[in-house]
Amino acid sequence: MYNTKMLTPEDMAERGEDFNDVLDDWFIESLKTYKDLHVYQLEHPTQVIEWTSGKTVCVAGYSSSKNEILELQLPLKLFADENKGLCAERDFKVVHGGFTDGPVRCLRHVPGTRCVVTNDGLTSDLQVWTVGGDDSDVIRRTGSVAGRKRRRTDSEGGSRIAARCSTQVLHGAQSDDIQLTHLTSGQILYTPEITSSDPLSSLQFVSDDVFLAGCCNGNIYLTDTRTSASPQLSPAPASPGESVLWWTDAAAGVSSGSVVRLSSSGRAVISDLRNLGAAVSQAQLSVQSRRCNPDDVTVSWAPALPGCIAVSGFSGVVQIYNTSVWGVELQEVQPLFGHRGHAVSSLPEEGDVFITSHAWHPERPRTLLSAASDGSVHVWDWVDQSASDR
């Protein structure tokens, strides 16, 4: 027989006090480790963070039925570099909002427009939304793009989406159903000649005409839309005995030309876009490997910090690694920085919190956004305390 203890109001108060104490400790520490840190609480967690301008991002819920899709403006104080004291706006602001009929598993902004495109992970169709316009604060559904395949199973990830110009969208859930579609007419403009059906973990343009499709099994297809030739296949790095998932990111900013592949066991391999078969360097990251879904993990190159990547999804921490110090031999490496804010500030009774998504600011070198499974959204500008600080 167990002696179940009834929690008295005093116990509850004490637990709350202890938690407040933890938050106070974290606050003092954050003064040293961040140049800026702002937190926001969504009613429901988001799995997507997508920049729609230098100061705004779109987020959306992923529960099975109706969800909110929101455009948030970041605290203006963050951007007031010269006169931080003069800017009182320290809170996130909801500037536009709407409702979806299903979960949002992927969300992309169409450059040069006020449109975003989403996928619910249930079918390969895309929903097209217009954000605001005409003094409206509503995000409303204004179209759709039909995908080739229909119903998905739960274990497969949804469609990946990429947009390079204002009239076309690249999308697909597997390597054999990728298509470049005209946004308004729905006309299919291009499909790569790929026969194998590998679920995708990423889809991104590396130039106006070339895109990279990263598969969950670690294969990468590099496709040039100007030629009719088959895409170049670069198989996954050898990982004997392990059944792992892989995520890929191709750098677009200062590290342009580099590609990172990250496995669910925490192994990261760096290659050059012109020679994907060869590993330039690799490392074993300090992550807790866990049973992951394709949507869980995000790896991304910093647009403005040479050689740096951010990794999230293995835990409640977002980690920054400096890949330029990695070697050819597989070795364990420590992160340059870890953002622990979500983990620290989540209530103990909510269980372990996980980072659902992160995104680098397109220009500010050390500014990132991160979202977690408890609905928290943080924007942070971290202090690089390493010896080689400029």
């Binding site: 407040n20 104490d21 106070d24 400790d25 606050f27 003092i28 040293k32 004291g85 009182a88 202090v383």
Partner: protein
């Protein structure tokens, strides 16, 4: 209410203040209430060692202390002749509030990593020294206030320090030490009112005097600011984010006169933190420069016009622009100068 005009006799001015009685309790304090006050200007307590070096880019605006004095002199609000220089607070003086163990560890550099993290400061001999001078400054300000009616330090307000640990940029509780010391050296037990208008709750001070009937702790703070784990002052007023000048002043006006009337303190210690200002990086209120000035003027005038001495410290303020911050802190001394004039001190 008209201000009481105090009559002074002419005497050569003392330039250097002394913390008498601190080391040897048997020695008679020179500055007891029987000494006639001399004609002089508002006493300003300052020490060049209020500062120490901090690691590059440390968030604590250490540079503000000398800049406060700099602007007051530059703007001809005060002259150097008004400046009183404190002595360093002795271990014995500090032990009236802090534990023996903490003081030993603190002075000898044995504070562990975790404890250091909570304070926000890496330990150094410099930080120990500056904290002790700062505390000495607050004690001197209180002593001089008893003699002259009003005195201001260019530092002070380290209200998050507890008897056995530091927290939130506070390593020693200067207000508590000053209160305890002045309670102890009087023939009757002095009653001391601590008015803490820093935007963060004076949790350390509240804790230290929780069971002490002769010290009344009054704190107006923003509920959502650090510390989230609150202590219990004798009177806590927790205000909402974004409060502005008018409502804030009204809040102070609601409580201060009543406290003076019912508690009848022999001395008021005033923490005039500027972090309720809208530009403050950490505070979540929206006071303006004018609001801070009105606040300080109101507090000091209300106390002085009742014939109660008041010593003020600058309290907290956080900004990466040190000069702007120092100017904001100097509002206190400008208001005090106005009070000194208006009340014929």
């Amino acid at each position: 209410m008209t201000c009481i005009k105090l009559i002074f006799s002419r005497r050569p001015r003392l330039k250097v203040g002394r913390l008498l009685g601190a080391a040897l309790t048997s020695r008679r304090c020179l500055h007891d209430e029987q000494v006639t006050r001399e004609s002089s200007a508002l006493p300003i307590i300052h020490h060049s060692k209020y500062v120490c070096d901090l690691p590059l880019n440390h968030r604590f605006p250490m540079g503000k202390f000398p800049r406060v004095l700099h602007f007051l002199i530059k703007d001809q609000v005060i002259t150097e002749k008004q400046v009183w220089v404190p002595e360093i607070a002795s271990k014995e003086l500090l032990s009236c509030v802090h534990t023996e163990e903490y003081l030993n560890n603190f002075i000898n550099g044995k504070i562990n990593e975790q404890e250091q993290r909570r304070t926000g400061f890496p330990w150094s001999e410099g930080i120990v020294r500056r904290c002790r001078y700062e505390t000495g400054g607050t004690v001197l300000a209180a002593e001089v206030a008893l003699q002259r009616g009003l005195a201001c330090s260019t530092a002070g307000g380290t209200h998050h320090a507890f008897p056995s640990f530091g927290s939130g940029f506070c390593l020693l509780n200067d207000l508590a030490v000053a209160a305890k010391y002045l309670m102890g050296i009087s023939s009757h037990k002095r009653k001391i009112l601590i008015v803490d208008l820093d935007v963060h709750q004076g949790d350390g001070t509240a804790f230290i005097f929780k069971e002490e009937p002769s010290v009344f702790t009054f704190s107006v703070h923003c509920g959502k600011n650090f510390p989230l784990r609150k202590q219990q002052s004798d009177l806590d007023i927790s205000v909402e984010d974004g409060m502005e000048d008018k409502e804030y002043l009204s809040t102070v006006e609601t409580h201060l006169p009543l406290l003076l009337e019912t508690f009848r303190p022999d001395l008021v210690l005033y923490d005039a933190g500027v972090d309720p200002h809208w530009e403050d990086e950490l505070g979540r209120l929206r006071l303006t420069d004018q609001g801070l000035y009105q606040r300080d003027l109101y507090v000091m005038k209300t106390v002085v016009s009742r014939g109660v001495p008041i010593a003020a410290v600058i309290g907290g303020g956080y900004s990466r622009d040190i000069d702007r911050l120092a100017l904001r802190h100097s509002i206190l001394h400008r208001a005090a100068t106005q009070v000194w004039r208006d009340c014929g001190m």
